[in-house]
Symmetry: C3
Subunit: 222 residues, 3 copies
Amino acid sequence: MDQVALESNAVFMGIEYLAIFICGLSGGLAAIRKHYDLFSILVIAWVTALGGGITRDVLLGDLPPVGITDKGFVLTALFSGIIVAVAHPEIEHLKWSMIVTDALSLGLFAVNGTAKALAFHTSGMTAAFLGMFTALAGGTIRDILLNEVPSILRDKHLYAVPSCVACVLTVFAYRASVHWNLGLNGEMVLDVAIVILVFVLRVISVKFNVTFPGAMERHHMH
Amino acid sequence: MDQVALESNAVFMGIEYLAIFICGLSGGLAAIRKHYDLFSILVIAWVTALGGGITRDVLLGDLPPVGITDKGFVLTALFSGIIVAVAHPEIEHLKWSMIVTDALSLGLFAVNGTAKALAFHTSGMTAAFLGMFTALAGGTIRDILLNEVPSILRDKHLYAVPSCVACVLTVFAYRASVHWNLGLNGEMVLDVAIVILVFVLRVISVKFNVTFPGAMERHHMH
Amino acid sequence: MDQVALESNAVFMGIEYLAIFICGLSGGLAAIRKHYDLFSILVIAWVTALGGGITRDVLLGDLPPVGITDKGFVLTALFSGIIVAVAHPEIEHLKWSMIVTDALSLGLFAVNGTAKALAFHTSGMTAAFLGMFTALAGGTIRDILLNEVPSILRDKHLYAVPSCVACVLTVFAYRASVHWNLGLNGEMVLDVAIVILVFVLRVISVKFNVTFPGAMERHHMH
């Protein structure tokens, strides 16, 4: 198995832990709003943070999945649940900080999920699917458990679309780095650019209310 | 791995693409009724069309699943989402055509899912379960994502029952073709007969309002 | 693969069948309350009884999962669905018997799920997660299909917490039995003690309304 470019570097591993932590906070917050007990808060924080990677690993056949085997990831996710159980009034006030860091997580999970799949020698299309599962499945499982329509379907702002763009670009970045022999550092630069692009797309979409079109509206002529 | 009888023939492969396309249309239509954006329409079309096969492959351990690796299947599912986003007013009018082609998909997915499992040398019971997952899981995942009770539970007409019959019969058809050495052509004839049977059962059930009994209604004598 | 201590003994295998049967009854009852047909009752009974083990096996990579391959387990689950379809008025009256036997199932599934994962040489943390999935995923899938918030999140009484305690203790019991060379019988005694502990915790929690704290309630000081 090849190495995942953004996991080869201590800085990016730090950002990955931060991404897991932020997703955990947002999950825990959703559970607190429904007045669940501490155990449920921890469960929802954990599934929001690591459910995407678990889904990717199940579909990739890399079992048991990293979301129940990696002690650092699991403890980070559970720790975010504890933090939010104590500091939820403060975190509720950090709406924009949450949207901003969540946008960062979105990009990072998409790029790393795709890169992991490519490291398992899947096709580009399969890798892009698995990257999207990594970025989007955690929040989707959270919403299913809370008995709500998943926010990737409900959210009028761009959320799934930037992650899709990121996954496709990551496949091209990987191929470019193989083709031109850019090495791990070259791939890392491209991957960082993709994460920043997703981040910008997502934040612009929320800030300026940019939405994606729906089905074509037409008059019945029957 | 042995060959799946109904995938050995160009005609039946064509029908399988049609089945995927029809399931995608019905999924996309459900998303349009909820006023989701184009991306969500594509997601729901894809998951309705290929979620059954993905569930089967996850349970069978044939990973990554065909629903994210087979370019023809994926493009067919996404294409159905685009078509329905444009032509939804027309497709809404095709209610009976949809029920009829959906009944065809139901039979085809059940038979092919069971046959694939048998080709992986599972027991007959396991193959029947996996055939039912292939036929029913896509629509179930669609309904869970749309936050509705799955139609296989809600639908008063026969839907799950014909698919169950098809899966059990496919196991017997496979054993008969091995036992009497009928070859791929003999098995194919039997499989076609099963698809037609499911189709007829489903259409009759909707047309003449045939339903399955519920729990026994009794008076309390306590 | 090592042997699962509580499955090495005819008495405990009998209890496992009873646990599956009871979970199936509770699942079938939920389906009957929603007036679903017999087929849906069987599906919900089966998924409630065996969905936990299926989830464990999918995450463990032991495919196809025992919930669709073990004829004894499958027939027991389906049989419970048929029984509840006939005898639901009586079973509704057995509320306390149901809570009591369900508490037994909870402990048994948690201990056996953890022990199976340990027999596949996972880490202790992974085994504890898989034990909890075994104990809790069946009821969770049932509630998702019935479009309700899962009872492990809703239930104010201790349900998930005792199962978590059981899984962690099972890991320690396994390590103790390896370290002090207690053998299968020694491990079995420890496992039985854990099942009894879970049972007592759960029943006390329902009886005396013991609950787990939620998020810290604080006044906003902003």
